[in-house]
């Protein structure tokens, strides 16, 4: 017909009245127009205004008229909720990369407004400059005829921050409306240890909670604990049916270590229909959750209920079955397992590296100490106890010692309270219970008599510049040495995986911190079919982090075995 038959497109950015008018003019001339607006709605700032006018028409009405013309124009494509990410121009063309955020309302919408009446979420109405509330379903402007609806549902900060990426907002919302069973299901989608995490998770989610900016963050962790207990009660009453695993794939997978990482892998793979066997060195399942965390923080029946849940999926846990030089990874493969996950944890306490530490009795690494107590030895280990370190294990050791009847428990930490890695609420509880904390002090020499520890020489410290960990580096103050008395010293400075079980020709790549080197995207080690995760890879970390890693590993094992 004529030269306009070749499609011509003009991009208009900005959905205010200028953009609307420009789009209409260009489209009326026969061009196609893409109208790009970053917010969910057209109209711009003048769409809020009635005082300023165009001729004798309030700006709002004028904008409303333009919006309706634009929305009905067959040659204008309206892209609201659309962000321009990049602009390029060349050879007579303008190219823009855009990201269209979902409005979650499709073209079937008849603008009846029923949804607005039932939505329970009441955010501030930004169209009305925050003077009133709207609903999570947004509708800018007067609703005289038609318009654009938009549901805001982006990932909230808490979910973003959670290593396991649990849809926190959803389960908290469900709890608020009394729908506990649905809430626990939401948690279980991402976390096989809701009861455990409900008690001991350091809940990074709460630190980013937006409510915290107003007053205090929502007690997310306590809410998780509440619904997990609801689930336990339901299970006891036989009212809870665990999910059915998928069809049996008849493929065997071995998991070494029944800690949070290993059991998460087992949980995920069992649901996928794999036959999973867990080899556990200790006489109890749970790993550090059992051997490290004291009972006053995590009662054993609670822990066991989460473990039972996984057992119920068909996972076999073989206790007292450590890997040794006689029972190796190769032996596991020989037994017909197609893949192995190594979640052996980090149980080897680091040395203080001060004179005298190997000479005397009464010197016990925190992991050894906690393990002994947690396996049932509740004898009083000494009278005057010194714990060295500032992490959660140090606090756990100190509070445990108090519970065993020790007269005086002191924590020695080389930095100040601010730099302490332990959860602040745990530190507070420890002090509350009577633990003394000596900040800015470090051991210099262990003192002993007759083969037993009698005390320690310490030095005072001061803080220097920031170091690699982002904390201020402690520097000894010369000549500030002092002596303390003690009959039990518990170093709690850090742990590494204990790899002594590996035969010489194990073939794994090992880091200089004695941990397994893996591809972080898949958790695969350099040996085919062997994956690793948890503290065995990261060094001491949290349960929730181990769960996240477990999900990653389980997913790549599934993909590996589906090939």
């Amino acid at each position: 017909m004529n030269k306009t038959d070749q499609k011509r497109l003009v991009i208009v950015i900005g959905g205010g009245i200028a953009g609307l008018q420009a789009a209409l003019e260009v489209a009326s001339s026969g061009s196609d127009v893409a109208l790009v607006e970053e917010s969910p709605f057209l109209g711009g700032l003048f769409f809020k205004e009635e005082s300023l006018t165009v001729g004798n028409m309030p700006a709002l009405c004028f904008a409303s008229k333009l919006i309706n013309q634009v929305l009905s124009h067959p040659r204008i494509r309206v892209l609201t909720n659309t962000k321009v990410e990049r602009i390029r121009s060349g050879d007579g063309k303008v190219r823009i990369d855009v990201k269209i955020l979902p409005s979650r309302v499709n073209s079937e919408c008849t603008s009846c407004g029923e949804c607005l009446l039932v939505c329970p979420i009441k955010p501030y109405d930004s169209y009305n400059e925050g003077l009133m509330l709207r609903t999570a379903i947004d509708f800018a402007g007067p609703r005289s005829f038609g318009g654009t609806y938009n549901i805001e549902k982006e990932t909230p900060a808490c979910q973003e921050r959670c290593p396991a990426h649990i849809d926190i907002r959803r389960y908290v919302g469900l709890i608020a409306t009394g729908r506990y069973e649905e809430a626990i299901k939401v948690i279980r989608e991402r976390n096989p240890f809701p009861a455990v995490c409900g008690r001991i998770c350091p809940h990074p989610c709460e630190s980013v909670c937006n409510r915290g900016r107003q007053d205090e963050p929502v007690a997310i962790d306590a809410l998780k604990r509440f619904v997990s207990e609801y689930e336990i009660a339901m299970r006891k009453a036989g009212k809870f049916v665990p999910p059915k695993p998928k069809k049996d794939r008849k493929i065997k997978v071995a998991v070494v270590g029944a800690g949070p990482a290993g059991l998460t892998v087992a949980h995920d793979l069992a649901l996928e229909g794999f036959r999973v066997t867990v080899f556990e060195a200790a006489p109890v399942p749970g790993g550090m959750m059992h051997l490290g965390i004291p009972e006053y923080r995590l009662p054993r029946d609670i822990l066991m209920s989460d473990v039972e849940y996984i057992r119920d999926l068909g996972v076999e846990i073989k206790l007292n079955t450590p890997l040794t030089r006689e029972f190796t990874v190769d032996d596991i493969f020989k037994q017909g397992y197609k893949a192995v996950f190594l979640g052996i944890g980090a149980y080897k306490g680091l040395k203080l590296r001060v004179p005298g530490e190997d000479e005397y009795e009464g010197f016990l690494d925190c992991i050894e100490f906690l393990k002994r107590v947690n396996l049932g030895d509740k004898t009083k280990p000494g009278n005057k106890v010194i714990v060295i370190g500032g992490g959660n294990s140090a606090i756990d050791s100190a509070r445990t010692a108090l519970r065993l009847g020790c007269d005086e428990v002191t924590i020695l930490y080389r930095r100040s309270r601010k730099e302490m890695p332990a959860n602040p609420w745990e530190v507070e509880a420890a002090e509350h219970e009577g633990v003394k904390i000596h900040y800015l002090a470090a051991p210099v020499k262990i003192l002993g008599k007759n083969g037993r520890v009698t005390g320690m020489v310490c030095t005072k410290m001061r803080l220097g510049k920031l170091d690699a960990s982002g904390r201020r580096r402690p520097i000894p103050i010369e000549g500030s040495e002092f002596e303390v008395e003690a009959d039990l010293i518990i170093p709690a400075i850090s742990q590494q995986p204990d790899l002594s079980f590996l035969p010489e020709n194990h073939g794994f790549e090992i880091s200089r911190w004695n941990s397994f080197l893996v591809d972080e995207a898949t958790m695969a080690t350099n040996r085919e079919g062997v994956y690793a995760g948890g503290d065995a890879v990261t060094g001491p970390a949290t349960v929730i982090k181990a769960i996240q890693v477990g999900h990653v590993a389980a997913n790549s094992i599934r993909e590996y075995l589906s090939k």
């Binding site: 009245i17 001339s29 205004e49 001729g55 303008v94 990201k99 009846c112 808490c158 205090e216 509440f226």
Partner: protein, 768 residues
């Protein structure tokens, strides 16, 4: 947006975090009993209710359950797209200045201190109080409201030495509305010199200033603080103090960070406040693939945003698309049925469908033709056919609706009520078609335009029309095309060459014909043709074109009428500018008198260009004559937008400003004595040159045009444009107006006005 504390609700959300019950300390010895005891159900419910859901959807499913068409998709994913366009028009919005940072204003701490945008929503029928004027803290009726002007604008301390243009006008209008809503409310406006932008701005200001319920205080506000019961204490000037029920901060508009990105993509730049440079120089050289409009170029009134948008569109219209549009001659009719209307009246759809056998095209049934999909279908129908008949819709209310949303320049629409069908749809449709009086055929107008006036807007319009392949007859009364543009460009300091190159690109275009030394003899309309006869360069010419565009620009008031006689040392700003160009000013004290022939009772508008011109001339003079002195006598300066920068420079250079009322008298011959009266004193100055800022007056030309063409002149003496949404259309079909002939404006506005008018004329002519 106002801070959350502003909301008096969230009553159902507990504010305190639930405390975790714990094992008493004395029970923790010698056992491993759990310390933290967990929430009870009651506590859990309370705590969970504290979650704000981050003000987002939790996917609870309640709305989906209510949604009949199941239009909600919770798990919709974001989508990425590459758009490839032939051109880009950028019209991003500015951002509202957030007054948080100045704690003295009390915006953060006092609930009843709000911004002008919040006030706008506060009194809106769709706002929080359903259109009543109530104050936010307690819903009480405010008796006294204070407006504080220039928050976030005209403030060097925060890097905002520009005027946000719209705020003074907005506050005046808001004050007026507040008074309409509550007949007993009193208003105080704290300002730094009000600048009521707009053609009728001065009239508005005058009206409000003389009302007994308004007080204008030209003082700086020092502090706003909350007193008893939510009332507010405003401290201002030297020890002034007042109490108010509500304080409105007239906040300015700032640039978005992304303006810079787009300016860069267009090969342009931003000014020091982050707005895209859209000055005259840039406009004349505008050839890039990116055009700008709206707040990207600076804060502006909505009507100016629209003009800017039309101007930007002019650069990117589809080439010669006239064939795409059908004229009404090839009359075709498409029938649509509204399923809702038909069904509720019990009309069988097949009865409507039977019309197809009578030779009508059938567009389809839509559940609601007035909703999204229906409207789109109707618009599509209008692309294909000249006439649309809707069956089963409601007359009256919906006719107006469709008229407002559909582009009926290309066709028309008729509605048949469901009950009118009465078993015989054919008869009903015929009746509707008869009643709608569609012209049976219409001749297409020629694609040519006669522009009257070769000034800034005339040349810009010519440029826009030529660019889009129309023919142009450019009619200029003098021998010099582009004099107005050259003058303005010289004031702006733009190189003469650039201006000449632009003028040349228009005047030497093959599709333009120039008529100099011309004056209009007569005008008549013949069908769709506009016929002008002229006398040009001594000969008589008759021009046929599809439209006439009046771009007669600005005229100058004769100062003699105000009692000023021009002489060698009493001259106008225009003459002074030429003198400065020649570089031969010897006078040591220049006295400028503003508003001669403006804002004086007879001329009730501000001419817009004179304050800028005075400052530009004063600054040029100061640059030439270092020890020269300039005094500007004014009635309140009217400097909008980035013109504020000139004021800053002028103050830096020691230019003096005197505010005066009434007539300024000049006497003496050698040294001139200038007598001015301000509010409470009389002032006498002695200078050796007086420069008169004479205002616009083009009444003679407008009257002549009105007599010869029949267009109307408005109350202020400008050519009337009756349609608000089409600011270029005069009362006569086929005659359009742009630039100063329709309202006062500055040079770059006139340029945009010309381009925008070109867009409108092109649309009109192509539609036929």
């Amino acid at each position: 947006m106002k801070k959350p504390k502003f909301i008096p609700e969230y009553k159902d959300i507990p504010s305190e975090r639930q405390k975790m019950p714990e094992l008493p300390i004395e029970e923790r010895k010698l056992n491993f009993k759990e310390v933290e005891l967990g929430f009870t159900e009651e506590m859990a419910l309370k705590e969970a209710a504290r979650c704000l859901s981050c003000r987002r959807c939790i996917g609870c499913g309640l709305c989906l359950a209510e949604c009949d068409p199941k239009a909600i998709v919770y798990d919709q994913e974001p989508e990425r797209l590459l758009l490839e366009g032939d051109a880009l028009i950028y019209t991003g919005d500015g951002k509202i200045y957030n007054p948080d940072r100045d704690s003295a204003l009390g915006y953060v701490t006092c609930t009843n201190v709000i911004t002008s945008y919040e006030f706008e929503r506060l009194i809106s029928p769709t706002g929080p109080f359903g259109g009543y004027l109530l104050r936010p803290s307690d819903g009480e009726i405010p008796q006294s409201i204070a407006f504080i002007q220039c928050i976030g604008s005209r403030n060097e301390a925060i890097g905002a030495e520009f005027c946000s243009v719209t705020c003074c006008r907005r506050s005046l209008l808001q004050a007026k509305r507040a008074r309409q809503l509550r007949g007993d409310v009193n208003v105080t406006i704290f300002h730094k010199g009000l600048r009521p932008v707009g053609k009728d701005g001065e009239i508005l200001l005058e009206e409000i200033a003389k009302s007994d319920w308004v007080e204008l205080i030209e003082e700086e506000v020092k502090e706003v603080s909350e007193g008893e019961g939510g009332s507010l204490k405003v401290r201002f000037g030297d020890g002034g103090e007042r109490k108010f029920d509500l304080v409105v901060l007239a906040v300015g508009i700032w640039a978005q960070g992304e303006f810079r990105k787009y300016a860069k993509a267009a090969g342009g730049s931003v000014n020091r406040f982050g707005f895209v440079e859209c000055n005259l120089e840039r406009l004349m050289s505008e050839e890039s693939g990116v055009a700008f409009a709206g707040a990207a170029c600076g804060p502006a009134l909505p009507e100016f945003s629209i003009v800017g948008a039309m101007a930007a569109a002019c650069l990117h219209l589809a080439p010669g698309a006239q064939e795409k549009f059908r004229s009404l001659s090839g009359e075709s009719v498409v029938i649509y049925g509204c399923a809702y209307g038909l069904n509720s009246a019990g009309v069988d759809e097949s009865l409507v469908k039977s019309l197809e056998t009578n030779g009508f095209k059938f567009g389809g049934f839509y559940s609601y033709l007035c909703h999204k999909d229906g409207r789109k279908a109707l618009a599509q129908g209008l692309e294909e056919a000249a006439h649309i008949v809707i069956l089963g819709c409601r007359k009256g209310s919906h006719e107006a609706l469709f008229e407002s949303i559909l582009n009926l320049e290309q066709g028309s629409i008729a509605i048949v009520d469901a009950k009118e069908i009465n078993g015989n749809p054919l008869e009903a449709v015929k009746r509707a078609l008869d009643l709608s009086q569609i012209p049976k055929s219409k001749e297409k107008p020629p694609l040519s335009v006669s522009i009257i006036g070769g000034g800034i807007s005339g040349l810009a319009a010519a440029k826009g029309l030529l660019r889009n392949d129309l023919e142009v007859h450019l009619i200029e009364k003098s021998a010099d095309i582009g004099r107005g543009l050259r003058l303005a460009a010289a004031n702006e300091g733009i190189e003469q060459q650039k201006v000449d190159a632009f003028i040349d690109s228009v005047t030497s275009h093959p599709n333009i014909k120039l008529y100099k030394n011309a004056h209009l003899l007569s005008y008549r309309k013949d069908g769709s043709k506009c016929i002008l006869s002229l006398e040009s360069d001594g000969g008589e010419v008759t021009l046929e074109s599809g439209a006439v565009l009046v771009a007669t620009g600005s005229g100058r008031f004769d100062p003699a009428q105000a009692g000023y006689s021009e002489s060698s040392n009493v001259l106008t700003q225009d003459d002074f500018a030429e003198l400065l160009n020649g570089g031969e000013v010897k006078a040591k004290h220049i006295i400028m008198i503003q508003c001669i022939g403006a804002r004086d009772g007879q001329h009730r508008y501000c001419s817009r260009f004179c304050c800028r011109q005075a400052l530009q001339n004063a600054l040029t003079y100061k640059a030439n004559v270092e020890d020269g002195r300039v005094t500007i006598i004014h009635k309140g300066l009217r400097l909008y937008g980035f013109e504020e920068i000139l004021l800053g420079e002028a103050l830096d250079k020691g230019i003096e400003f005197v505010s005066a009322e009434g007539k300024v008298d000049i006497s003496g011959e050698g040294p001139l004595r200038v007598k001015a009266r301000s509010k409470n004193e009389e002032l006498e100055l002695e200078g050796d040159m007086v420069v008169l800022s004479v205002a616009h007056d083009n009444t003679a030309i407008h009257t002549m045009l009105a007599e010869k063409t029949g267009i109307h002149i408005d109350d202020l003496g400008f050519i009337e444009t009756p349609e608000a949404s089409d600011p270029f259309r005069t009362s006569e079909d086929g005659i359009f107006v742009c630039g100063f002939a329709r309202k006062p404006m500055v040079a770059e506005e006139a340029f945009l006005d010309g381009l925008a008018a070109a867009t409108v004329v092109i649309r009109r002519l192509r539609a036929g």
